[in-house]
Symmetry: C2
Subunit: 464 residues, 2 copies
């Protein structure tokens, strides 16, 4: 059995896969940081080498105008078989507060069955998983059961700003029958998942300015507007008492859940205390959001707003000054149906309406992308369910994700609405984007094995 | 005329005075910064040397338990004459954002008739003014017209936390008939002032915490409480639409203005546009505070609240995280009658009542001190008005100040309610506590000359 041989090859080569992943994690490929542009380029080159070593052909780097490099490769000798596009990304988030990491963010560290390091789960493990599945098939059978194209993006973490230009330029080279994205995650350790909805992204950097420079809070307090307080009141006006977005009409274009979706969500295994633990809630802290809506529906199908950055004078070294200006980064998650540009426009108009004292207001929109969802049914989804069930020896969960992968919707659309299968190496304790990001190594091996099985299942059941 | 000779001595020695001031400015005596404790000690030693050089006797450093050093000196050979206690402080505020300074904060720089540098106006110019007046009298007449004690504090900028202990320990050595504090300022360049009310200080560092560590704003946004937004809503709840404090009952213990005070304030020269310019209002920005109350009354006799520090993730490097915690420094100015401890207690209770989602709340009160005011009448005030009128060739303004000098009230009280004369070297463009702090050198010379005259006036008109 060639499939069995390929699965065995994954196991045999797994130590090597970990080492390859560690090499990638050592490269601080932070796409958001201009000072790391060379590291992103280095990461692209290393990614290309990993794809070459796996046996992929025509490996090269492509860049849309001004973008970080995309790395592509292919193996297209399975005549008559379907073509699968395997997606992952090699760029990473900034490390956050380095002091909060147990060890260096870009020095991988194995501990208790996990691999720690920025990008270990999101999404360098996805890159190496694709490579590992391809290499295992070629080692065991000398060929793949279907045609494969691999696309590894270098700017997923900054919202894929050049994706449209890239797609326009390279559509033919990427054409596929099904999309497999290894940038999502498992339901929990040991239980795989297929993700069929993602939230979109909107938001802005908002700066208010009152003064040329700071002034003494005693000499001027009471008549000179306080930009830090002004910004606080403006932010507070964006949400209701649950922390839900209170901008009038904001979610009017969101599509409602179908009765089936609501029933599916209601049937999910859920344990509020376990969820709190997994996110590190402090004792006594309760959930935000409308308590009349289930937890998963709140995360997957309600828009949310987070103050991800705040710039004012830090407490340390503060000198009883009214600051001249203050700024906040507002990050918004959108749900299916919502237009990101409409969302940002409503945000802008709301803030313009509430800015007090005539303060100067600068509203700089961030990258915006719509949410995505599909019906988790049909041949490809069934193939993926079988593959994950066999790979993990556990029933895969059909889930949404509150995060965003701007790539998915436009790509699936560009090829005429092909199925998109989202799986991935993270689990709820992976702290992706957080400090001490980590990957569960045994689940990662199961994921690679599942991907080996998936290629066979897709080849066997493709309807054409 | 000995007085004329002393004034001439001020003028003759003025270049030297500037150089002495520059030497003091070079020492970063930041009392709030533990890493500058040695610099504060160095500053105390340099201050002692300045007092010695001026001809003061028994110069020494005194410290209450654990305090930064106070420097004292005296000249007490004017038998039968009144005793004047001259106060200033040698500690300074942190420099704020160093990048916003035109040159190094602790490298004094003369430009267009001003001396730039942290402490140039607040209050090292006060220290050197006292020394200069004493030295001028001794040079011109070999003696002073009255007895003088000098007290230079080393922790005014952190709210004089050890003042009570210090007073208790050294009351006898400091006994005086009138207090002269060179820590206030002029009405504007060329127009001197006597300050007869100061606001008090309260406030706290407030920290809210939801999580052990940050989590992904997509994966969790909508159910995980956002501490930055929570803090924003809590801060917003502290003020009304004018930015005035909205904590119920907060100003119930404030004393009302007398009709005379209200009339005096109403008669002050005032020009809203000039005031806006002096504080660097951006175009189109309006005043905060109840528009039904005059500007000066808002600053001097209404409490105010400023967010002087805010700690969350900065925008730069933010990675779409819900932060684990956020903190703000709230600085409150109090008016005569208000109990600072009551004020902080009301603040604490209000914040405890509004903290959302059961977030952990840490409320750490900052140093608290009451406001001060006196009736600007009587022999000492009249003497000061004459001295300033002659020194500046301009009518001195009787004014309040929105800032705080915790020292004044307890000190005047400790000696049985002696008159306190507040004057000083700053002007509205001095940016004390701000970046590019500066001193108007010609006004500073006039202040030293006025102080020479004041000593004679006090000696001549003291009622005993």
């Amino acid at each position: 059995m060639e499939t069995t041989g390929a699965v065995e090859a994954v196991r045999r080569e797994f130590d090597g896969s970990i080492e390859v992943l560690e090499e990638l994690v050592r490269i601080p490929s932070i796409s958001a940081a201009p000072e790391h542009v060379d590291d992103v380029a280095r990461s692209a080159a290393a990614t290309a080498a990993v794809l070459e070593a796996a046996g992929l052909e025509h490996v090269c780097q492509l860049a849309a105008d001004g973008s970080h490099p995309y790395v592509v490769g292919e193996w297209t000798h399975a005549e008559g078989a379907p073509t699968v596009l395997l997606y992952a990304h090699h760029d990473v988030q900034p490390p956050g507060i380095v002091a909060n990491w147990a060890t260096e963010p870009f020095e991988p560290r194995r501990d208790a069955g996990r691999l720690y390091g920025r990008g270990s789960a999101d999404d360098k493990a996805g890159v190496v998983a694709h490579a590992g599945a391809v290499a295992a098939w070629l080692a065991a059978a000398g060929e793949l059961p279907c045609n494969v194209r691999v696309l590894v993006e270098g700017e997923e973490e900054i919202g894929s700003p050049n994706l449209e230009a890239f797609l326009t330029a390279h559509l033919d080279e990427l054409a596929a029958d099904v999309l497999v994205l290894a940038d999502a995650g498992n339901w929990k350790v040991g239980v795989p998942a297929l993700t069929y909805s993602l939230r979109g992204l909107a938001g802005a950097d908002v700066r208010v300015r009152a003064l040329d420079g700071p002034v003494h809070s005693g000499m001027a307090g009471g008549v000179v507007p306080d930009p830090a307080m002004a910004l606080a009141t403006m932010l507070a006006s964006l949400v209701d008492e649950h922390g839900d977005i209170a901008v009038p009409g904001f979610a009017d274009d969101a599509v409602s859940l179908t009765p089936e979706e609501r029933a599916r969500i209601a049937a999910l295994p859920g344990d509020a205390e376990r969820v709190k633990r997994s996110w590190g809630f402090r004792p006594g802290v309760g959930f935000a959001g409308d308590p009349g809506v289930s937890l998963w529906e709140r995360i997957w199908r309600r828009p949310s707003l987070t103050v991800t950055g705040f710039d004012s004078h830090p407490i340390k070294g503060s000198s009883n000054q009214i600051v001249a200006r203050a700024a906040a980064r507002i990050s918004v998650r959108l749900v299916p149906g919502q237009d990101p540009h409409r969302a940002n426009e409503l945000l802008r108009r709301h803030l313009e309406a509430v800015v007090p004292w005539g303060l100067e207001l600068e509203f700089r929109p961030l990258g915006a992308s719509p949410a995505w969802r599909c019906e988790p049914t049909g041949w490809a989804f069934e193939a993926a369910q079988r593959a994950l069930r066999a790979g993990f020896d556990a029933e895969p969960v059909l889930m949404g994700v509150g995060g965003s992968i701007p790539f998915v919707g436009p790509f699936a659309e560009a090829f005429g609405g092909i199925p998109a299968l989202l799986l991935g190496p993270a689990d709820p304790t992976s702290a992706i984007h957080g400090e001490n990001e980590s990957l569960h190594l045994d689940d990662w091996r199961k994921l690679i094995e599942s991907e080996v099985l998936l290629l066979a299942e897709l080849a066997a059941t493709h309807p054409s």
